[in-house]
C-alpha cells in the first residue's frame, strides 16, 4: 500500500508540473482533472472517504466542466462542425 501511495503522489506531482508546462489549454484542464482523480484515491488511502467523494465530484467533475465551458466561451477549443441530422427526433 505504501508503494501505491508513493506512486500516486509522484503521479500527482508529475501532473502538477505538466499542467504548467503544457502549451494546450485543453490538455491542461484534462491533466488537472486526472490529478484530481488521483488525489481522490489518495484521500481514500488516507482514510478520508467523504473527502474522496467530494474531490471526485467537485475537483474532477464540476470544476473541470466549468473550465471547459470557459475555454469554449473564449474559443480556445477547436470545435468540429457537426452536420445536424434531421433523422433524429
Amino acid at each position: 500500500m505504501e508503494a501505491v501511495n508513493a506512486l500516486l503522489l509522484i503521479f500527482i506531482l508529475a501532473c502538477a508540473v505538466s499542467v504548467s508546462l503544457t502549451k494546450s489549454l485543453l490538455s491542461a484542464v484534462i491533466i488537472f482533472m486526472v490529478q484530481s482523480l488521483a488525489m481522490s484515491v489518495v484521500w481514500i488511502l488516507l482514510r478520508a472517504p467523504d473527502l474522496a467523494i467530494t474531490e471526485a465530484a467537485v475537483g474532477a467533475g464540476v470544476t473541470s466542466l466549468l473550465m471547459f465551458v470557459a475555454l469554449k466561451k473564449i474559443h480556445a477549443v477547436r470545435t468540429v462542425k457537426h452536420e445536424k441530422s434531421d433523422k433524429q427526433p
Partner: protein, 306 residues
C-alpha cells in the same frame, strides 16, 4: 491639395471642443497638405516601433519570478514539515478536541459517522456560514451574467446564441449511456445524503454528486428537457426554502443547546437512518442547496440564464 481655410471651417462647423480645434487648425495651417499624410505619418512611425523591454530588465524579471516561485514553494514545504506526523502515536495525544469528539460524539448525537456531528453539530456555525456563502456566490454570478428581465432582446440572444450550437444534438450513444448512468449518479447522491449520519459523506458531498449528475443530464439531453423542471423560479424557491429551514433548524439547535433544553430530535438508535437527531434533515437541506447551486453555476456560465 486642400485649402487649409476649408478644413478650418469644417472643424468649426462640426463644433467639437474649441481648444482641440484651435490646435488642429493651427497644425493644418502650418502644413498646407496636412489632411492625410502629414498627420498620419508621425503616428505611424510612433506605432511601428514596438516598445521593447530592455534585455537586462527582462532577464531580471524572469529571474525574480523564478526566485519568488521557489521561495513560495520553500515556505509551503517548511510549513508542512511543521505539521504533526500523520498517524503518529503522539499526534492525537496533545489534541484534546479530537479526543473529545471521539469519546462523546456517538453518545451526544447518536450518529455513527463521527464527521457528520463535527461538521453539522459541534462546528455547525461554520457550515451554516459556508452554505450561505455558496448561495451568495450563485446569486453574484446570476447578477453578473443574467440579462435584465426587461431586456427581451438580450434574453433572446442568450437563448439563441447559447454555446451549444456546434455540439452534436440528440446523440444516440450519449443518450443511451445517459439513460443508464444519470439515474445511478443521482441515486448515489441521494444515498450519500440520506446516509450522511451513519456512513462517510453528507450534505456537501452528496449535493455535489447530485449537481454533477444534473449537469451531465443537461449536457447529454440539451437545454430543453432540463429547463422544463429547472427554472429560475424553482431554483429560487427551493434554495431559499432549504437555506431558511436550515437556518431555522440551526437556530433551534443553538437555542436549546445553549439553554440546556431537551431537543425534540432524539438521538435514536445509532446505525439507523433516523438516528443522530436533526443531522439527517440538516444533511438534506445542505445537499439541496449544494446540488442546485452547482447546477445553477453551470447553466449560468453556459447560457447566462436558466
Amino acid at each position: 491639395m486642400k485649402n487649409p481655410i476649408n478644413s478650418l471651417k469644417r472643424f468649426i462647423e462640426q463644433g467639437s471642443d474649441p481648444l482641440g480645434e484651435e490646435m488642429l487648425s493651427e497644425l493644418e495651417l502650418n502644413r498646407p497638405d496636412a489632411d492625410g499624410e502629414a498627420l498620419a505619418a508621425p503616428r505611424r512611425s510612433l506605432f511601428s516601433e514596438k516598445p521593447r523591454r530592455p534585455r537586462l530588465i527582462h532577464a531580471l524579471y524572469a529571474a525574480s519570478s523564478v526566485a519568488l516561485c521557489l521561495a513560495l514553494i520553500g515556505i509551503l514545504l517548511y510549513t508542512v514539515s511543521g505539521l504533526p506526523s500523520f498517524g503518529g502515536a503522539d499526534t492525537l495525544a496533545d489534541s484534546e478536541v479530537s479526543a473529545f469528539y471521539i469519546e462523546n460524539g456517538l453518545k451526544d448525537t447518536g450518529a455513527g459517522n463521527i464527521i457528520a456531528p463535527i461538521i453539522l453539530s459541534y462546528r455547525g456555525f461554520d457550515t451554516l456560514g459556508e452554505s450561505h456563502v455558496l448561495f451568495i456566490a450563485a446569486v453574484a454570478v446570476m447578477l453578473l451574467l443574467r440579462p435584465a428581465p426587461s431586456d427581451k432582446s438580450a434574453l433572446l440572444r442568450a437563448y439563441e446564441y447559447g454555446d451549444d450550437k456546434e455540439e452534436p444534438h440528440d446523440d444516440l450513444i450519449l443518450m443511451a449511456g445517459g439513460r443508464v448512468i444519470v439515474p445511478l449518479i443521482l441515486m448515489f447522491g441521494v444515498y450519500i445524503i440520506l446516509n450522511g449520519n451513519i456512513s462517510p459523506g453528507g450534505g456537501f458531498s452528496g449535493g455535489a454528486v447530485i449537481g454533477a449528475g444534473l449537469i451531465m443530464y443537461l449536457s447529454i439531453y440539451g437545454y430543453g428537457p432540463a429547463s422544463r423542471f429547472m427554472t429560475l423560479r424553482v431554483y429560487r424557491a427551493v434554495s431559499a426554502c432549504a437555506l431558511g429551514l436550515y437556518s431555522l433548524f440551526k437556530t433551534y439547535h443553538f437555542v436549546t443547546g445553549f439553554n440546556g433544553i431537551e431537543s425534540v430530535f432524539s438521538a435514536g438508535i445509532p446505525g439507523t437512518i433516523f438516528s443522530g437527531g436533526m443531522l439527517l434533515y440538516l444533511n438534506i437541506f445542505v445537499g439541496t442547496v449544494v446540488a442546485l447551486t452547482m447546477y445553477a453555476l453551470f447553466t449560468l456560465f453556459r447560457k447566462g440564464d436558466f
